[in-house]
Symmetry: C3
Subunit: 214 residues, 3 copies
Amino acid sequence: LKLAGTDLDQAINLLVLGLDLAGTFVFALSGALAGVKHRLDVFGIMVLSFAASNAGGILRDLLIGAVPPAAIQDWRYLGTALVAGALTVFLRRFIQKAQEGVLVFDAAGLALFAVSGAQKALDFGLNPLMAAMLGMVTGIGGGVVRDLLLREIPTVLRSEIYALAALAGAAAAVWGQFFMPATLSGILGALLCFGIRMLALRRNWNLPPPVDSA
Amino acid sequence: LKLAGTDLDQAINLLVLGLDLAGTFVFALSGALAGVKHRLDVFGIMVLSFAASNAGGILRDLLIGAVPPAAIQDWRYLGTALVAGALTVFLRRFIQKAQEGVLVFDAAGLALFAVSGAQKALDFGLNPLMAAMLGMVTGIGGGVVRDLLLREIPTVLRSEIYALAALAGAAAAVWGQFFMPATLSGILGALLCFGIRMLALRRNWNLPPPVDSA
Amino acid sequence: LKLAGTDLDQAINLLVLGLDLAGTFVFALSGALAGVKHRLDVFGIMVLSFAASNAGGILRDLLIGAVPPAAIQDWRYLGTALVAGALTVFLRRFIQKAQEGVLVFDAAGLALFAVSGAQKALDFGLNPLMAAMLGMVTGIGGGVVRDLLLREIPTVLRSEIYALAALAGAAAAVWGQFFMPATLSGILGALLCFGIRMLALRRNWNLPPPVDSA
């Protein structure tokens, strides 16, 4: 049973890392597409890939005192962002056509970032309320920095459901940890965030999402 | 006498906390009003409330190595900002009419933030010159972040007296600590900053203040 | 011989400090000139002097956990920036005419900041890849913050050679440290960055450089 537990833990860790890098990848696509739209050079597109996918996590890590931030210590975050940026440059037309699919992944990335951000903040001793807020910051921070670099008023300030979905998911994950294992509570929080975001997209509850309007 | 001293200390601590939250409240009003002016949604207004009132202190805490920053650890700062944001949404007309009163409170908030920021920087071992600079950063940082989020050139860059009042107050508080108790020197520094700011407002020494021109 | 070694070390340290402050000075000029162009007041010009010359190093120090950042602890960085700002205000016409010379110094500052930034990141335990990236951030960060404060899309996002020169120099300095003393590898990295940047300027390989287009 112990072995099984270890195997399960390993499988979960691998899954979380995979989802984390998948979220990084999709957020990087949104940054790179915004860079293409503003006719940036290749270098600028790569910067936006990295900023859109990692600024939220870096900001969270700075605020909770986890330095150097994970995205600075672990080259895989940078690598993932650069691959997404390169794909956007070379397969631009294809990715622009696939934007609806990208939106689904974007919602998944938001859900994962919000939950993992909140749980990391809890681990570093923040109180539940501020941990939920930092989960939201982790989810939306990348988009805010992307928009600031492009001299836009951050989309998320005009399109509240996006941030509220992140906050709801993060809060649920934090709250759930009082009653159940962190893994389970994290999954429920992520599903809640993902669900709200997909519903909002389908029913047009708010302004166009970040990827479109960047 | 000792008891009296303790009572006095407690009274002073309570007063400082009260003034700190009052400053947070007024700066949050300025952020929320700027958000209303730019027709942001409720969520965007709340973000601006928090950013305008706490970004200066967060920036100071990151720079002096006091992590997690007070505004992240203590929910009362967030709570105060959200209350100010909600009041702005519901009582918008009233608050807009009361802007002259808000300006007085804004000057008080600036004075308190500048002094308390400088003293915290001193406590963390910075030299007097840089402690005074960080006091200024604490006072004006929230307004700068508010303007950046709204895609404005920060008002304070165009309206020098505002920042110089903060710098003068912070410098006086730091300088005074060589001769007198920190509490007394802080009060004198705050009065100096408040006085310069009110004089500048009355005699129109500079461009319209942040709250108006945001 | 040992004395000679110590003398050499002291000479090198003095040289590095001198170059560091020279780089600070030239970057501060670029910030102050940009402030003059946007008709900021004296205070705004000073803020831009400091931001353009020290934001890159502050960002690096925050990201590697070196708090308080050097530019906050050591008053000489602030002092250098203020002197450069004051010179720009009083000798504006002269400095604007001398812009070609300023560009050479700017390239030297970029080279030094990129190399010293990468080496500091290595010293704080970052892996070589991310150390090279942080070298680039140190070199270009000041210009990015300068442009954001002035509501411009950061020049460096549109003018890739500038950042790539910084990255190449930083990467060479990091890579060289596996084979040779850090001082030698740093010199080679700085020469590489300086060379690429000067070639790019001479052959018009990219858009106008930051100082012109700010």
